[in-house]
């Protein structure tokens, strides 16, 4: 039911974790926003596009049994809120993992996967999901 332009517009953030930094206060935000919610008008003209590394730790998680139709082949799947190294938190699926091994604090990084497709003849949407990384990964 979604439209191609609506997804396409967000590709820089969904493919490459582009966020924004307020050079007035130094805070990072994801996804990008027009003005800083703390500095308000002072941030106009001072917002700088930044690319987040896509690395962080699980802040909370849940094993989803009644989930999105698009993910029915992966039921049950792990959904997590991840705190990225730069500060912002994001929500996404954790994949290629053993659900019982995923805990609050587990280190993860982003990878590109299919998010959904608009039926067998529709556009395929890609975006970030998380995979666990070893504690001592470079």
């Amino acid at each position: 039911m979604a439209t191609a332009p609506r997804y396409w517009r967000e590709n820089p953030s969904r493919y490459n974790m582009y966020g924004i930094k307020c050079n007035s206060c130094g805070r990072c935000f994801f996804p990008p926003r027009v003005i800083c919610p703390v500095c308000h008008r002072k941030s106009v003209g001072k917002m700088e596009t930044i690319k987040l590394k896509g690395e962080g730790r699980i802040f909370s998680l849940s094993e989803v049994h009644e989930g999105l139709e698009e993910l029915s082949l992966q039921r049950p799947y792990v959904l997590a809120m991840v705190e990225l190294d730069e500060g912002p938190k994001v929500t996404g699926q954790v994949i290629d993992c053993d659900p019982c091994d995923m805990k609050i604090g587990t280190k993860v990084r982003v990878t590109l996967r299919k998010l959904s497709e608009e039926g067998p003849s529709g556009v395929i949407h890609y975006g970030y999901k998380f995979i666990p990384v070893p504690e001592n990964a470079p």
Binding site: N11, Y15, N16, L71, L73, Q74, I95, D96, T111, L112, R113, K114, L115, I124, Y126, K129, P138
Partner: protein, 350 residues
């Protein structure tokens, strides 16, 4: 101007299934099948993976290992026989995902299992002619075999990407030669889900004729012999064909050992020689010579003569996983889960 590989990266999905598990469902002795094919397990893509996500991860691993700025990439080609779209290139999405867009040439390639190496040849030409500074050639696939067909035991998923340039080359692409004929050994018509093949016709008149001709053609033109090479990799639809053709050409088991990845991950089609070459580059030392021959049904072979340079000593291979590391932590599936993942079960519709 010398042209060669500046960096490379690979990716193999985590899931596996054994020939034994497949055989159980179809009343076939899967273990014996696997033994005959020299395939002990094949890789299975997750429902959220496809040729594009595999190509992206391979290309990102390739970029992690070098310091080339993505905007210096002038061309990017993805070769596959399982592009997610029949019309809309995989390459544009990969280019965006590695931030090479928008100033570059992109197209998708198809030539059965040698689409990835055809892309390497194209990049060699563009770089050599000075038309681009760097070109990216990717071979990736998530191929399917029809349920119960012999190909179901081997068709798997994986890929590798190569950054071709003329500076900081870790392996020069010294020569390339291709042998091409119209031979209908294996094909898939537009709109069909599974390929068809000519059974035993895929052997002597197809794989062996073209790989032998490609190999001999390259060695004749450049006056080399098997003993000149440290490593050799041939297209690997199973473990038997490349082992046999290597022997027939005069290569030893020791030469083909490193590049033979099919026994644990199956036939990754357009990813087969690229992954085998990656496995070799994972261990190659400066001065090593590599002989590579890819085969694509339809039919043709692409042969390469490659020399590893001193630059390999400083190559940051550790910034991305080696092929060995990629396949180290597999998760085995039963046939039902495999069939679900691969879309072989007819689902209801809204």
């Amino acid at each position: 101007m010398k042209v060669g590989i500046v960096s490379y990266g690979a990716y193999v999905p985590r899931y596996r299934i054994t020939p034994d598990e497949i055989g159980k469902v179809w009343g076939v002795d899967g273990k014996a099948m696997g033994k005959g094919l020299m395939i002990f397990s094949k890789s299975v893509p997750s429902p959220d993976e496809d040729t594009i996500t595999i190509a992206v991860e391979s290309a990102r691993n390739m970029m992690r290992r070098c310091d080339v700025h993505p905007k210096d990439i002038g061309a990017l080609y993805v070769g596959s026989e399982s592009h997610p779209y029949a019309v809309k290139p995989s390459g544009t999405i990969v280019a965006e995902a590695i931030e090479a867009s928008p100033d570059l040439m992109v197209a998708d390639f198809e030539f059965a299992c040698k689409a990835g190496t055809a892309a390497i040849q194209t990049c060699m030409g563009l770089v050599g002619a000075g038309l681009v500074k760097y070109g990216v050639a990717i071979g990736a696939d998530t191929s399917q075999g029809a349920p119960g067909d012999a190909l179901e035991y081997s068709a798997s998923a994986g890929g590798a990407a190569f950054l071709i340039g003329s500076e900081k080359i870790i392996a020069t692409l010294d020569h390339t030669y291709s042998y091409t004929t119209d031979t209908p050994d294996f094909w898939r018509r537009e709109g069909q889900m599974y390929p068809r093949h000519g059974g035993r016709f895929t052997g002597e008149p197809a794989y062996f004729k073209h790989v032998m001709s490609g190999a001999k053609g390259l060695m004749e033109r450049n006056k080399t012999a098997p003993k000149d090479y440290t490593h050799a990799v041939f297209h690997q639809p199973n473990g038997k064909f490349p082992t046999r053709v290597a022997k027939q050409l005069g290569f030893t088991d020791g030469q083909v050992k490193t590049g033979l990845v099919v026994p644990h991950i199956g036939n990754t089609y357009s990813g087969a020689v690229p992954l085998g070459l990656s496995a070799i580059l994972d261990e190659a030392k400066p001065g090593d010579r590599i002989f590579a021959v890819a085969y694509g049904s339809g039919a043709g072979s692409d042969a390469f003569d490659i020399t590893v340079t001193e630059e390999m000593k400083d190559f940051r291979r550790d910034r991305a996983p080696t092929v060995k590391e990629l396949i180290a932590n597999p998760k085995f599936l039963d046939y039902a889960t495999y069939a679900k993942f691969r879309g072989k079960i007819i689902l209801g519709s809204e």
